[in-house]
Symmetry: C2
């Protein structure tokens, strides 16, 4: 059985004898008794195991170290201690695996930096156990949301011969020995397993569109890669993306879905990880619970890029100093995102972006200058989702690709989606780790990824 | 609204007017009326749309081609036709996207080979729409199974600097320009973004074990890669794996979980894709439904490798000719797997394999010769899952790694999992595509992957 079962249905277990395996998280010893803080990792709460010197092996028990794997057997009884309803009165204990006293994870506060070095152990601490449980629960919420609404899950290919949207740098993949390539002085892509150079996907969106044209509603959820040399708190070279695509859906329709989806995920995590959220609220990001609860109740703002620039310029008139001057037709900076979300104090969709700063596949608006794109900006994080209506007009799409000097031939199939029963369709992308920063209040992407890959770091 | 809604609650819609967008799958025209076979991809069933020459735009409607995107509006009424309860009497129609007459997907049977060439369109055919919907539903069943049982979903890293189990060939990943490497005559891994050579994971198991030691129960579900040059019906270079790991669980315990899990997935697909299974049963693999229903009811066989060899040798005595002679202490061939599953006519766990043909991390049995591994062999597919108890003894694991001349230093963290509260633990792997071959009756792995990557093929 699991510790989780005890907390789920405590009435059933009080007065009963149970046997559970798990680990010693802390061990407080007194002369005639002791307390083992016991966790099996199945829920945030720990079981307090109480023992006394009436047990034959009392002296042996007192020697059990933090981190050891043990099996405990005893009576579940109401607890006199504050903050817990029940505890276990120990009757039998078995040490399944010892742990040396120099075990790095001691019952005290460790720095995030230290725990990044010991990443293979950090899920054993309260904070990281909470973070990575939320990661799992949020992933499930995403699948649940889309599956229950009839979306077909699409596994976008990871290895790809095309460079989607040319965004960021692409990792190259080879089956050739790199030292041999250097020795042979000439690289011949025909020798590759695939007969040509391939790389790691930066987005599964284009392929997902082909599924939307067959199933109406589809979503991806898989890893994507950027070979950028960015050492920031928001960038990792390997991260997971969710990319839903919906046929017969315009920009307003996709914003409705984005808003509904985000509220669902937040609510699901609040409902299913209440203890984890409380811990993070207390020790990591004060006000986290309130922030998340508010988002489920608020109506997101929808405002055009032009209107955003108006607000930013007004602020300047009223004395606000900008590092980067806001301009119509240009991208907005991090400081502007921050200002806008603080201005409205809730998530804001910014729509109708200048076409030149956005991707080729976005639907050109009738003004000929802007595209039907919407970025969702949330307080404290910045951009959380990016969506757009996709250009469904074959000729306009082709023109835009030529304008950008793209290799239109290799995209024949993507263009053909507009030729063979094409229709208005839209989609969006969620960076899963950025969503997790939002859900957990953690401020560094390295701390919401089990084994993060960032420049210079590819450990474990 | 979706076509799926109509079939879910037909009583609610009969006699009502509805409006839906979707695609023309077929169009049969008569002089005074016509039938549009209409699908929006949200369910396997199509809606029959009936129209007649009382409509003003009758002549225009008759010109609508197969593959076009349309919006139809009309009355849902009971159908006089056989095989369907209701149909739509068309009142209004809008063509949202035309389709030329040379559209590759016509309402006739296309060969699998042809559809592989047009992979971006094949989900629009009945067969592949069924296959890839089952892929999505099965993926969800897997998440549901593990999440409802308290497993924490673990996203194993894809980029890795270590070669897990040395199995198969590993793809190399580089941020350097391959032509530049050739020109410079020397490859310097220190120039890489990560400062060292990295590759694509072949398994997330080792990392997943670290999560099992924190959460007790964990599972991965993500892409894995093998750079093998194998052109078979069962091999792809990119495929998805599910790798659960459970602490405090021995080999028998993990086989219980494997059996329960497989039955759950099969039952979930039978319950949620009945029409898809019927189609595949009829046109792809006769007897599919019966085979799947049987597996949910059968008790899987558990038999040792030695006992398997006994059976195979007995068969030889009774006249069976083997291409590969079965031997104690050696691996078994495909023909042996087939024989064993036909012998028992149900899934068979083969346990206690000779250690030399199995991976380094498997628990050495007390005989010193075999390991606590179990392969699940199923009729018609062969090996579907592979599981084992993991070696929890630090010294034995270290000895085995040294014996195999592994770089034990880079595995320090994996070894330490045995030092810091280690315990009996076990896990298994499911090849997702192999499972799909089993669930769909399709016989080629290229036909259960949206855009398959096999030697020479990396299209779309």
């Amino acid at each position: 059985m699991d510790v989780k079962d005890l907390f789920k249905d405590e009435e059933k277990y009080i007065g009963k004898k149970v046997k559970i395996s798990g680990w010693v998280r802390n061990h407080r010893k007194q002369k005639e008794f002791g307390f083992i803080d016991f966790s099996d990792g199945t829920c945030h709460k720990h079981l307090q195991v109480v023992y006394d010197d009436k047990l034959d092996d009392f002296d042996e028990i007192q020697k059990i170290t933090v981190g050891s794997a043990i099996e405990v057997e005893g009576l579940i009884k109401e607890s006199p201690a504050k903050g817990q309803k029940f505890e276990m009165q120990l009757e039998n204990i078995k040490v399944l695996g010892t742990c040396p006293v120099d075990y790095p994870i001691q019952p005290k506060r460790h720095s995030d930096e230290f725990l990044r070095e010991e990443a293979y152990l950090r899920a054993r601490t309260n904070k990281y156990q909470a973070v990575f449980r939320i990661r799992s629960v949020a992933a499930y919420a995403i699948h649940k949301y889309f599956q229950e609404r009839g979306y077909v899950y699409f596994n976008a290919p990871i290895l790809t011969a095309s460079d989607c949207e040319g965004a960021g740098e692409m990792f190259r993949v080879t089956t050739e020995d790199l030292n041999e390539i250097a020795k042979s002085k000439k690289y011949d892509p025909k020798k590759e397993l695939f007969g040509k150079p391939v790389g790691l996907t930066v987005s599964g969106q284009l392929e997902a569109e082909s599924w939307a044209m067959a199933y109406k509603k589809t979503y991806t959820f898989g890893p994507t890669f950027r070979a950028e040399n960015s050492n920031t708190k928001f960038h990792a070279n390997e991260f997971w993306m969710i990319e839903p695509e919906v046929a017969f859906c315009d920009l307003n329709g996709i914003m409705d879905i984005e808003e509904d989806c985000l509220k669902y995920i937040v609510k699901y995590v609040l409902d299913n990880c209440p203890d984890e959220i409380d811990l993070l609220d207390k020790f990591v990001s004060k006000g986290l619970r309130e922030k998340l609860e508010n988002v489920t109740k608020s109506k997101f703002v929808r405002i055009t890029h032009k209107e955003v620039i108006d607000i930013l310029k007004d602020a300047e008139k009223n004395g606000k100093k900008w590092e980067f001057k806001p301009e119509y037709g240009e991208d907005i900076a991090k400081e502007h995102e921050t200002y806008i979300t603080e201005y409205f104090k809730k998530p804001v969709f910014i729509t109708d972006w200048p076409k030149d700063i956005k991707a080729f596949y976005m639907k050109l608006n009738s003004d000929g200058k802007t595209v039907a794109a919407a970025d969702l900006e949330v307080p404290g994080i910045g951009e959380l989702m990016g969506g757009s209506q996709r250009e469904e007009d074959y000729d306009k799409l082709l023109d835009r690709m030529k304008e950008l000097k793209m290799d239109t031939e290799s995209y024949y199939w993507y263009l053909n989606l507009r030729k063979y029963g094409g229709c208005v369709h839209s989609g969006f992308g969620i960076g899963f780790e950025r969503l997790l920063l939002y859900l957990t209040g953690v401020d560094n992407i390295r701390d919401v990824i089990s084994y993060p890959r960032t420049p210079g770091n590819c450990e474990f």
